[in-house]
Amino acid sequence: MKKALSLLIALAVVLSLSACHGNVSRESFVPPEEFDSSRHFDLNFWAKNDTNKYQTAIYQKAIEDFEALYPNIEVNLRLYTDYGRIYQDVITNIATNTTPNICITYPDHIATYKTGSEVVVPLDELMVNAKYGLGGSEVKFDAPTVSEIVPQFLSECYIDGVCYALPFMRSTEACYVNKTLVEKLGYTLPDMLTWDFVWEVSEKAMEKDADGVFKVNGQKVMIPFIYKSTDNMMISMLRQKGADYSTAAGEVLIFNDTTRSLLLEIAEHAGTRAFSTFKISSYPGNFLNAGQCIFAVDSTAGATWMGTDAPNIDIPKENLVDFETVVMEIPQYDVSHPQMMSQGPSACIFNKDDPQEVLASWLFLQYLITNEVQIAYSETEGYLPVTLKAQSDPSYVEYLSLRGSDTEHYYVKIDAAKLLQSHTANTFTTPVFNGSASLRDAAGQMIEEVTKGMRRGKTVDDQFIDELYADMTSLYRLDSIEAGQSTALQPLPTESKVLLGALAAVWVGIGAVYLIRIIKKRENS
């Protein structure tokens, strides 16, 4: 019986400890002195493409070229078309120690991944490793050095002062404008768009004739202003206004009066149907190309879908209309200090028990920012290479110079890349912390909600906004984000404290019983 009891106790302890599997613990990665080229390594690379076959081909070619350089490394590509799915899958696999080796991702997501201990590999030491660091002596390809990565983009990969990723590709948002319709409405495009200008022209475009046909395009459908990413919209508006969003440590500040006034401003134009969103109406580019939208805000990485002659068209050809497309900065509140999002994927590597495997992952990650990969991938869309080395490469300079010469050099795509290149200093990112992805979602959802509310005949006023703030806080659990501790290990939950206390009590009890029995046994003997 006693043995059974002991076994039960041991089992309980084991179960108790193993139950807390959420925070995976692993040894810190220490780079090996030498990379073991005699061993075979299978690496899993989870990537995202924009459902663009050229991007897929570039990933595959990068893998082939890399494997040719390192025959003992085999890279298995798994493609996603949605960052959210990668994020969810990584979260799921952290708990079972089955993360990929390399993953295309966003710093917001990394902030959550790294709540597990030693899950994501810090890159600071690796980057400057003399042998295997960026441009290291033992690296078998022409990698950029740290200083050749665009500093702005590299800085986005730091969390709590530690670098956890390398930038892979960068884009920003652009406003793709149907200049033809703007001028038809009697306006001249300014050098830089302002919110006032966009709202004014959009409202003007809503005029209909007696048959309910929009005067500006002679169609039954017109949504003058469509914004693809409403989280970016809210974040950019707040940034341009100098208003609070969050602190770097993770204190949520978005529910303020500026946000309120912005939401009411947006609601006004949603109510007239001059404004809508991707989630509500569909792709801005589809409406733009059908002559049913004047200001389509989307990523520069979506440039090949914009305009009459776009290489990628998603609407029936008979619905296409002829117009002049102009790529402009997103609308601004202060044109003397333009501000726009820096966005685009980064890539991180995950820790493994075998340091050699991690080193192999690092080598492949490094390969992703070589000129060959950077230039090829950036040319598939309006992306910008993340290294100065690639941006100044003669082949890339020539690519930009051939603007409009053929489909490969589609002028909208090249204008989009140039937009970011010329405004790199005007880009910004939001603070990254555990929960920052949820805050971003909430920022966008508030615009979606006021837009839907107005379309559905609700009254969007201060009471609506108050309720919205409360709903967003609850839905995205923004009140559970702990500023300052967000990316570190969380304090033990109450259940665990109770559990540990109970375990201690059990051991004390066992000890007491054991002691009493020994004493009794001695007394009896």
């Binding site: 179960l15 798994r78 493609l79 597990g116 559905r456 995205y476 259940e495």
Partner: protein, 479 residues
């Protein structure tokens, strides 16, 4: 001590397991939906006082309802029950719809003075003696007399028997006060009217009203009995205002005439709309429908996308809030109530921001409609979202000489959506195997991967729309 220790240990293990996984679960935003139909269906039309009933000792020869049911036809019976409704008194006789907590009775043409008839208000307790009889399936007490008794009144709650329609067990509820919920008015008579005066349209104002209503794809006949609720009553006027396609809730007595022939006493427009009304609803307006799951995309992040269809039309329910347990419950055929907003996204008319409530009963699986001949015509959109079939189409090359592509442009890999082109009558169309609906390993996914250019195929699927027709194919057969 050992027991105490064991208890503590057990507690520890429970705590240990309960503590697991609370911190690192991905946050999901979906509202928790628990399968429930009871909240709606249990709402009584009239307040019940059954809890207030004071049990009374039955007199020696008074039968219980079970004894009444067991009694042979043409035998003398004596029961005590409660009036629920009466038909109009005439010529010293009255017909009573009566019900007790244990069962219901139809008392046909009991002897009754006009003075007593006025006392037979709903809830009144009566003792009835007569002969058990059956007339065209209706079991009733004939040649009866009654006596009004003292006692607390009893009002029966209508029991929802919608899902028992067509089921042999429905007869167990004969004569009871019942309800039929969310049924769709169907045409009746040669002219496809919403109702008829008399069963064949031979009547006029004041005659009984007959109308048809369907559920689960089967149509049933209902009557407004003019002696019970005649011209000018709410139900009589409501039925006269019905339109085919209306979705209605009904309450009445489960009368029998060669089968169920309910005498309806209340008809109200359901909070749910017919498909015709749904089509008429403006974009961004709230919509509520009763429909049946035909297929679902894979559940993710607290959301579920549903292909749904009713006998009168189909729906695409995009990203409805749904917890994982409910998602597993929503197998094809499941009846669901859906409330959300009508929306349009790249030509696809759908219900968004929807809440769904599954019913525990109800089943309807749509048969595919062959729309091959409608491809390229404006009539096709009338079938949007329906389960359809395409016959005898030829597989055309895509991306060079391939029969299909992973992703719209070939950028995907195994697991991505499959795109393939098929032609008929010289026109080529792009069809999709949506991986969230039919992913790798499903028959259709593997079948499309095995297609060859030039194959002739029959297909079934849902008539999704994206900037034009873009069917989500669920089966492919090479001929």
């Amino acid at each position: 001590m050992k027991k105490t220790l064991a208890l503590i240990l057990a507690l520890c293990m429970v705590f240990a397991l309960a503590a697991c996984g609370t911190d690192n679960k991905p946050v999901t935003s979906g509202a928790n939906i628990t399968p429930s139909e009871t909240q709606k269906q249990d709402t009584p039309a009239t307040p019940s006082t059954s809890a207030d009933l004071t049990p009374t000792e039955p007199i020696a020869d008074v039968m219980t309802h079970d004894e009444y049911v067991a009694a042979p036809l043409d035998s003398d019976v004596k029961i005590e029950t409660y009036v629920q409704a009466t038909q109009s008194w005439w010529d010293g006789k009255i017909t009573i719809y009566a019900q007790s907590p244990d069962g219901a009775y139809f008392i046909y043409n009991a002897a009754c003075s006009e003075e007593d008839a006025a006392k037979l208000v709903p809830g009144t307790k009566i003792a009835v003696e007569g002969v058990k009889s059956e007339w065209s399936g209706e079991v009733e007490i004939v040649d009866g007399t009654f006596e009004i008794l003292d006692g607390e009144p009893y009002y029966a709650n209508p029991e929802d028997v919608t899902e028992l329609l067509g089921d042999p067990s429905l007869i167990d509820h004969q004569n009871e006060y019942v309800s039929f919920l969310t049924m769709t008015v169907e045409p009746i008579g040669d002219d496809g009217a919403a109702f008829l005066y008399n069963w064949d349209g031979s009547g006029q104002e004041g005659s009984d009203l007959y109308f048809n209503a369907s559920v689960n794809g089967v149509t049933y006949n209902f009557t407004v009995e003019s002696y019970l609720t005649g011209s000018g009553t709410d139900v009589y006027e409501a039925v006269k205002g019905l339109r085919v396609g209306d979705v209605i809730d009904m309450v009445g007595y489960l009368y029998w005439y060669n089968g169920a022939n309910p005498h309806i006493t209340s008809v109200t427009k359901s909070e749910y709309m017919s498909h015709a009304d749904y089509l008429l609803a403006e974009l961004d307006s709230p919509v509520s429908v009763i429909t049946y799951v035909q297929a679902t995309q894979s559940w993710w992040d607290g959301k579920l996308t549903i292909y749904a269809q009713s006998p009168d039309g189909a729906y695409f329910i995009y990203n409805a809030a749904c917890d994982e347990a409910t998602a597993k419950f929503l197998v094809p055929g499941t009846k669901i109530a859906v409330s959300g907003y009508k929306s349009e996204w790249s030509g696809e008319v759908e219900i968004v921001d929807a809440a769904i409530s599954p019913f525990s009963n109800g089943n309807y699986i749509a048969e595919p409609t062959d729309v091959t001949a409608l491809l390229g015509t404006e009539e096709l959109i009338a079938h949007q979202n329906e389960f359809v079939s395409f016959k005898g189409m030829k597989v055309e090359p895509v991306n060079g000489d391939k029969a299909f592509m992973y992703g719209w442009d070939g950028s995907g890999e195994d697991g991505s959506d499959l795109y393939f082109d098929v032609s008929v009558n010289g026109h080529t169309y792009t069809f999709t195997v949506e991986s969230y609906l039919c992913g790798p390993g499903t028959e259709v996914y593997e079948a499309v991967k095995n297609l060859k250019v030039g194959d002739t195929v029959d297909m079934e699927g849902f008539l999704y729309w994206y900037e034009g027709v873009n069917p989500h194919i669920t089966s492919v057969t090479v001929k």
